[in-house]
Amino acid sequence: MTASPGSDLDGYGSAEHSVLEVEDLVVRYGTGADVLRGVSFTLAPAEIVGLIGASGAGKSTLLRAVQRLVEPSSGSVRLGGTELTTLGTTELRSARRRMGMIFQEHALIDRLSVMENVLCGTLGRTGFWQAVRRRFDEADVSEAFRLLHRMGLEGFEDRRCDELSGGQKQRVGIARALIQNPDLLLVDEPTASLDPAASVRIMTLISDVCRESGLAALINLHDVPLARRFCPRILALHEGRLAFDGPSLDLTDDVLTAVYGEEAVESHVVPTPGSEVGRAD
């Protein structure tokens, strides 16, 4: 655990049987300052971890660096024991298939149908001509139907994605990530463009599917009450460093002040454990 007052629970931060191990990760854009400054943590199988922090703290960069959508400047990222930072193009593509990613603004292809968008999650294992001719494997198509049913989008298969609401789009994004059959789910601000009720529904869905399939998840959330409610463990970033790693119950005023600053906590912009403002439940 890192700078986490009263959060010394056994098992946190253990690299044994972990899905993801991040060690001393540094990311620097160009010649500028470091965005991530030596971040280390591990994720156990089926563990749901919330990632919080102020804007610019490096939350999205951390998720993208795990996927190597941004190249780490130094440090190590291991997925199920495989070191990702040194992989070549082909091996990296294989490794990425084991990490499902859910994006803030859905990142769907609006002009394609819901089914096509979901099946895009299988492009890593589907041949190019097979995919272009829309001859996806029958097992993948059946799984896509099952996931759409699970997401509450039954009957939406042939609808174009630009006809869907924000919440529906996010559920298509979740189905696309899950059809990869990943070991780990990386979720980048899934509720950023949703109203509070839709946010709770989406977080409930993500949390439920992770529990059902024993899937580990690292969820970047700007909403602290949502993170507390749905993530038993919280990582908090402050200026690119891990300022807290522990159970959500230990997210005290002091920790939130260290992460967001005194002004944000005092004005209840970031609700503290005793505060009712902004609580989702």
Partner: protein
């Protein structure tokens, strides 16, 4: 609150110095006068031309579709064939060049080669390219077809590259994150985003190519242009009128068809 000066407000001048502004106006005026004086305005030639213009416009009022109909029909069919074939071939060839010339998709050396090639394709006017191809392949429709292909690739390739550079990067990133290979990322993440624009531009290029097919025919590259220049050379202004009316009608028809296609496809 300052209200008394509101009526006196003027936008600041684009050129701050009043002296520079006056000098620019004076310089522009002087240049125009000198340019007009330099042009050799010959009243006698204008009078002679006016008589020919009366013949020419008189011919417009009496279009003759019959006398040269077989030549006109052959020219139109050739122009249409050149236009359709060149637009289709140009569209297909423009895709690899357009993707290669998009900075966000390819490494810098590929970008430089494809951008350079597209710049060469667009460097010369179609008439110059047609003269070159006529010299290479001889008179006829093949030279015209090649000319229009080059022009179409230059036009569509550049606009496709620009469209690709403006796409929403998020879906492409999502496909990268799913482990999709490059070709699948292009097919699913890029082309669906740019295809409506490219299809619209291709239909627009079809119009342009039909018009260009008439122009390049004037230098021997086949099509209705060759029929037109022959009619001009024979002073058959009635046939010229018929040909021009047919070209305009074809363009109107193309406009209607492309409008319907655009609505259906997009």
């Amino acid at each position: 609150m300052r209200t008394e000066a509101a009526g006196a407000w003027r936008p600041p001048p684009r050129i701050a110095s009043a002296t520079t502004r006056r000098l620019l106006v004076l310089g522009g005026g002087a240049y125009t006068v000198i340019a007009l004086v330099t042009i050799d305005v010959d009243a006698a030639r204008m009078a002679e031309g006016a008589a020919r213009a009366v013949d020419f416009f008189g011919g417009w009022l009496r279009p003759d579709f019959v006398t040269r109909w077989s030549d006109i029909r052959a020219g139109l069919v050739e122009s249409l064939a050149m236009t359709l074939a060149a637009t289709a071939a140009g569209f297909v060839l423009s895709v690899p060049f357009g993707l290669g010339a998009a900075r966000n998709l390819v490494p810098p050396p590929v970008y430089a080669v494809c951008r350079g090639a597209l710049a060469v394709f667009r460097a010369f006017h179609e008439v110059l390219v047609a003269i070159l191809f006529v010299a290479m392949f001889g008179f006829g429709a093949f030279a015209g077809f090649m000319t229009l292909v080059v022009a179409t690739v230059g036009f569509l390739g550049k606009l496709l590259a620009e469209a690709v550079e403006e796409i929403d990067a998020a879906p492409l990133e999502a496909l990268t994150a799913a482990g999709a290979p490059w070709l699948s990322r292009i097919a699913f993440g890029v082309l669906p985003q740019v295809m409506p624009r490219i299809l619209g531009l291709t239909l627009y290029r079809l119009d342009i190519n039909f018009r260009e097919s008439a122009i390049i025919g004037l230098v021997g590259a086949g099509g209705i242009g060759a029929t037109l220049i022959t009619a001009f050379a024979r002073y058959e202004f009635e046939s010229v009128s018929a040909i021009l009316i047919l070209i305009i009608s074809m363009l109107f028809l193309a406009e209607v068809v492309s409008g319907r296609l655009r609505r259906r496809l997009l």
